[in-house]
Symmetry: C2
Subunit: 392 residues, 2 copies
């Protein structure tokens, strides 16, 4: 019988445009915050979710570089890449490392540095989540591909752009409470609709911003160890990482079964819930992947929370807000908390853990006992879904 | 009690300059060869060791791309990056995935496509294994950094370049028997010494060539399952992957304890051997990382097989050749088998497995029962060491 896995500490940097900081510095800040949060327990291995270090920083050997700078020269460390889902994939690999017994404590981490790129261009780098030969070569940007999906969605299901703008409106509101968020100001439908068009119909305020950040989750094997650490840090609950599932789809969109269904999200979420012994209706709190407004809606639908085409309507009518089940994205989501690509999956996990512990410093969920995080890479080319559970 | 992990199939492409082939094609060839070798057993997850897809192919989401092309759309798949040690790091992650019970069969894979790069330059891309800010920015290439180490080594221990050339001489000889090797022709000390100087004192024939290739190892959990598959494929032995260890060091060389000791190699090999219940003197066969001649010698020393400074002398005197214990690099090593960067660690593992099974199609080891593989990234910034054991 394999022992269960628990989260003993989380550490986040604020997300922003930190021209003056190297990825190493952001990483060290988040890692040591997590160690402090865990009462001083240190990792025995480090898994780094990151997408763009090779292209924007000209740096490989990236896991070792970060481990060394943070004071952990020598530890097993490597980078995991799955585009914007790199953080979720790193969580999956880290979960395996600790559950297998290879190490007793592992740091599941994500870091991304998009500003002051030294060896590449951000829009080009982010497009590498798409197919180099069949999409990018012909000029597609990542926003462009998502715009095609947004156009199909609004046309097929009969929404106006204003109606779809309710998601970013709420995300900005939630993020205004989140001290780690990149965008702290509330907005209005009018402001959203008058923001610049990036790729029709997607406007600037329908999109996640470009930002830097680092996030760390410390995982331990065994409930006794987790309880001992919780006691030391004055907590009376422990948070179990009950399951992590990863699934993939094609990179290019042309061969998808259905452009408006993210098969990998469906697959990974079903599997993760099953492994945790839950159904989606049992989940109290969710952090999901909303790189664009339409991504947020598709995610709600593909997680099984709304019939296809109804997510925007239900969301505007009040579903998934405070007091509902599940409550969704009180961090402000990728839209407003920010989306430091390879770190996003770990931010989501840390936020879910804090909501379960009751110490999230932003907009608080209603005392959730179970939480799910959903992180994707590409247009759900990769989906990582994790289920967390508060254990009294 | 965690179940043990076994290798049930291996698949390799020939290494070469395949201008006409995409990385996807090389990957699919190796994966399906491994599936055939395992009597048709298919993976439930795919871990891809790769260094340069982001820079040379402009492609992220790389794990999903390869899984899809090989016919495994949907499976958990992600890329692991640890520079030239990406394959070894992927083996480490894959071992954890299967040992943890997340999946029952995993493909530990590596693929690299260095020829016909579409979005970058090979020498620049390979330099990304070094520190972008403290080394590459000042003009260092990866060969340049290793040349400094080679110069220090020969000066300190009093070797001539001719004396150090015995390693490549033997590697070329061994590779001439290996159908997967990039370089199949034997050479002479005179030819080595008259080859172009790349970075003094390293000459072309002291260096691993640039090549493309893909390698796959299929791992399963549980001896019963492994025996059942072995029976089906007509084999009377199974090969256990007894341990995999990963360790790191600084990326930049300036802060190393000793330029001529690869601390991460020392650490990873000691740990891997300890976990397997062995000492280095018990190991019958080794595939080690010889990106340059000096790397081969340092590896021998840091694995604990020779006192510092004596590896070239002992090697010339006949140590580590056919009939000795251990026998080393009968594949031809990185030097002549080739070094498709992120795939190299998996090539080594596959070669070790075939030597243990007795079906390596090249220069055969003397019926080994235990084998060790040693794969590094950067100047041993990352070291991955795996121990394999034949079980009757």
């Amino acid at each position: 019988m394999l022992e269960r896995v628990f989260v003993i500490g989380v550490g986040l940097t604020k997300i922003g445009r930190f021209y003056e900081k190297h990825a190493k510095e952001l990483f060290s800040e988040a890692l040591w915050k997590a160690i402090d949060d865990a009462g001083g327990v240190k990792p025995q291995a480090i898994v780094v979710g990151n997408m763009t270090s090779s292209v924007l920083m000209g740096q490989d050997s990236f896991g070792a570089l970060l481990a060394d700078h943070a004071g952990f020269r020598g530890l097993p460390a490597f980078k995991v890449e799955a585009a914007c889902g790199s953080g979720g994939a790193a969580l999956y690999a880290a979960y395996a490392l600790v559950k297998s017994g290879l190490v007793d404590v592992v740091a599941a981490t994500g870091v991304e540095k998009l500003t002051e790129a030294t060896t590449g261009y951000v829009t080009r780098a982010l497009a590498q989540a798409a197919d180099a030969d069949y999409e990018v070569l012909y000029g597609a940007t990542f926003t462009g591909l998502n715009a095609m999906i947004a156009r199909l969605y609004k046309t097929l299901f009969g929404y106006t752009d204003e109606e779809l703008s309710y998601w970013p409106l709420k995300m900005h509101e939630y993020a205004s409470y989140n001290p780690y968020a990149q965008i702290r100001g509330k907005t209005t439908i009018e402001e959203i609709m008058s923001s610049p068009l990036i790729a029709d119909p997607i406007r600037l305020y329908h999109s996640a911003p470009i930002g830097d950040g680092a996030a760390v989750l410390l995982l331990v094997r065994g409930e006794d160890r987790a309880r001992e650490i919780a006691k030391k840090t004055g907590r009376d609950v422990v948070v179990e990482l009950a399951s992590v599932s990863l699934a993939t789809d094609s990179v290019d969109l042309t061969t998808r079964n259905d452009l408006l269904t993210m098969d990998s999200t469906v697959k990974a979420s079903r599997e993760a819930l099953k492994k945790a012994g839950l159904e989606i209706k049992d989940v109290d709190y969710i952090e999901l992947h909303d790189a664009f407004h339409v991504t947020g809606y598709l995610s709600i639908e593909d997680l099984g929370l709304a019939p296809k085409g109804l997510a925007p309507k239900l969301y505007r009518e009040g579903r998934f807000h405070k007091g509902d089940k599940p409550e969704i994205n009180f961090s402000g989501g990728l839209k407003a908390r920010g989306h430091p690509v390879g770190a996003t999956g770990i931010y989501q996990a840390a936020e879910a853990v804090m909501q379960l512990r009751g110490d999230f410093p932003g907009f608080k969920a209603s005392n959730p006992e179970t939480a799910l995080t959903h992180n994707i890479g590409g247009v759900s080319t990769t989906a990582a879904v994790a289920v967390f559970r508060r254990v009294k």
